[in-house]
């Protein structure tokens, strides 16, 4: 079962890349308190992303002719691992680098590739993903935002929600209906590139439960799109989005969301010298899970490297990985609260409080847990 999903090693070729990523990440977080580092995914720092671009750390898997690194998925694994382990702010390039550029490479025209990819590789162009709508979360095929042919181009009407980084982004790649109605499901969907500064676009940030505004509602009121706004073929949006989600779900990012907190807790234990039996068992159990998940994520990357689309395997890693990310703050809170006479720094407390609050989002973003398990069940031959 899942025979090709097997242990692999990261090729040794990427050690220089790792060293550069590590140095830049360390510099970026030097003055940031732990609870700010814990916001790595949503940390917006355009200057840092441009530095990564200048150092050749973005668009690693994209062809050199478009300004990319011309390397394989392992190169991206190594760099992402360093950035997230350090808690570096990745939001300003995250989505464009991970999803939008590969999507444009795979489905876009030659002109679109040249127009968008080089700027993404320089860390100068921010994209957002416009999939979710108020009425369409897990049931993505029910989207109602519509692009209608008007003259040469399109007119866009509707609304997206939970769009990460929309307030900073230049463009959104939106999944929209170009024909038929919501009842037609997967037929009649397309992807379009929307300039978020165009007339008729309104972006309204939404605060999350920790008080941060990293995602937004985006309204389209008769927005004019040029004819070349369409990415890929009209009516092929569903197939394209499915391929896009395979990039989104298979990276190392589904393991490391709580790792800044884990290191903060380890530092606390080391400084107090506390190594009681319950604590060592807890620390070791988490380390065993981290090591196993890393092996699984690397195995998944090896499948990508071999040109496969490991949809089921990526779902396995994401579900197990997000469970680990979610268990960490609960276990750490229990461990600290069972030693009440031991002083805990404000910084660690704030980090713990933050990760505890946002942890439920880990198994929602990028596809909810139950949906992923449905994909795995199908892979087992149950549907």
């Amino acid at each position: 079962m899942f025979a090709s999903f097997t242990f692999a090693r990261i090729p040794a070729d990427y050690e220089d890349l790792r060293a550069t990523a590590r140095r830049l990440a360390k510099e970026a977080v030097a003055d940031r308190p732990m609870d700010v580092c814990a916001r790595s995914w949503s940390g917006y720092d355009a200057e840092f992303s441009r530095k990564l671009g200048a150092a050749g750390l973005l668009g690693l898997t994209l062809p050199k002719e478009y300004g990319g690194g011309g390397m394989g998925p392992f190169a991206r694994f190594v760099v992402v691992e360093e950035l997230l382990a350090a808690g570096a702010p990745v939001a300003a390039h995250w989505i464009a680098d991970r999803q939008s550029a590969p999507l444009i490479l795979n489905f876009g025209t030659e002109a679109q590739r040249h127009a968008y990819i080089p700027a993404i590789c320089r860390g100068e162009s921010l994209f957002a993903i416009g999939m979710s709508e108020p009425g369409s979360g897990s049931d993505l095929a029910s989207v109602r935002t519509r692009a209608e042919r008007r003259g040469d181009g399109w007119r866009l009407n509707g609304q997206k929600i939970w769009t990460s980084g929309a307030m900073h982004a230049d463009r959104m790649i939106a999944l929209v209906r170009t024909s038929g109605s919501a009842e037609d499901r997967h037929r009649g969907l397309s992807q379009v590139i929307v300039d978020l500064h165009a007339p008729g676009v309104t972006v309204r940030p939404i605060k999350d439960l920790a008080g941060d505004a990293h995602f937004a509602e985006v309204f389209f009121d008769d927005v004019a799109l040029p004819s070349d706004a369409l990415v890929g073929e009209e009516g092929q949006g569903w197939q394209q989005v499915t391929a896009e989600l395979a990039f989104e779900r298979s990276g190392p990012e589904r393991i490391y969301s709580s790792v800044v907190l884990l290191d903060g807790w380890l530092a606390h234990l080391r400084s107090t010298g506390r190594a009681d039996a319950a604590t060592t068992a807890l620390v070791g159990g988490m380390i065993a899970r981290l090591a196993t998940l890393r092996a699984m994520s690397i195995a998944c990357t090896a499948l990508l490297e071999a040109g496969e689309s490991p949809v089921v395997e990526a779902s396995i890693v994401k579900d197990l990985g997000t469970a680990f990310e979610q268990d960490l703050p609960l276990a750490i809170a229990d461990n600290l609260a069972s030693h009440r006479d031991e002083p805990v720094s404000d910084e660690l407390r704030r980090t713990l409080e933050y990760v505890t609050l946002v942890a439920p989002s880990f198994s929602l973003r990028g596809g909810a847990r139950e949906i992923l398990r449905g994909i795995i069940a199908r892979g087992l031959g149950l549907r």
């Binding site: 097997t6 604590t279 060592t280 795995i376 087992l380």
Partner: protein, 239 residues
């Protein structure tokens, strides 16, 4: 040698020697010893042209898939002169094999058993449990493969990772399989119990999850590296 090339003849032999009927009788493996001895498999991990240790993982997965006596594996380890860590890693591989087998049994039963007018495997609650079970089975196998790579380099910490993971997940895999198979799986006559019984035994054998987790925890707390750096260096042995 390709792993499946290696495992296939072993799989045929073990499947032939240990059909469920014979496993159920549980007379050890003395009767079968001569046949296995003659095949040369017991010496695969010994001698100058011994197999690379990571190739032992598929062999132990086969032992697990057939609920075969671990005495066979132990003999292979002893002849190879491999230490304690080896046993923990290969037990994790055996747990992966037994886990894979009970997952297959549970999936087959879920597709077969009809209640409320359709196979229970069409029920989302059952699908979700089987999906989680598959995640756990894959996790145990990857942990064993990770630990076996380049053994004995980093052997103690790798063994602890593999056995902590396998022992943590073995009982959860066993319970999930029993939940899906209903009363049928509780019967002595059904094969499921042959494998879930092993899962519980092998979980405790050579140390349970808490023992191995503590060894890891003590080592990590005595160090000053970050979690990811520690794991990369001490378990993955990356530069």
């Amino acid at each position: 040698m390709d792993r499946s090339e290696l495992a296939q003849p072993f799989e045929r032999m073990i499947a032939g020697l240990f059909p469920p009927g014979r496993v159920r009788e549980g007379n050890g493996w003395d009767a079968e010893r001569r046949e296995i001895e003659a095949s040369g498999f017991l010496d695969l991990l010994a001698g100058d042209d011994a197999l690379a240790f990571d190739h032992a993982v598929p062999l132990f997965i086969v032992l697990g898939r057939h609920a075969a006596p671990l005495g066979i594996g132990r003999e292979m380890i002893a002849r190879g002169g491999l230490g304690d860590g080896a046993e923990a890693i290969l037990l994790a591989a055996a747990i992966a094999g037994a886990g894979e087998r009970v997952l297959e049994m549970a999936v087959a039963y879920a597709n077969d058993r009809v209640q409320f007018g359709k196979p229970i495997g069409k029920q989302q609650a059952v699908q979700q449990n089987l999906a989680l079970m598959a995640e756990h089975v894959v996790a145990v196998r990857l942990a064993a493969e990770l630990a076996a790579a380049d053994f004995p380099d980093g052997g103690a910490m790798k063994a602890a990772v593999a056995k902590a993971t396998a022992s943590e997940l073995a009982p959860r895999i066993a319970s999930a399989a029993h939940a899906v198979c209903g009363a049928m799986g509780i019967g002595m006559e059904h094969d499921l119990q042959l494998f879930t019984r092993r899962l519980h035994q092998w979980r405790a054998e050579a140390g349970s999850e808490t023992l191995h987790s503590r060894a890891l925890g003590i080592a990590v707390l005595a160090d000053d590296r970050s979690a990811v750096d520690w794991v990369r260096a001490e378990v993955f042995r990356e530069a």
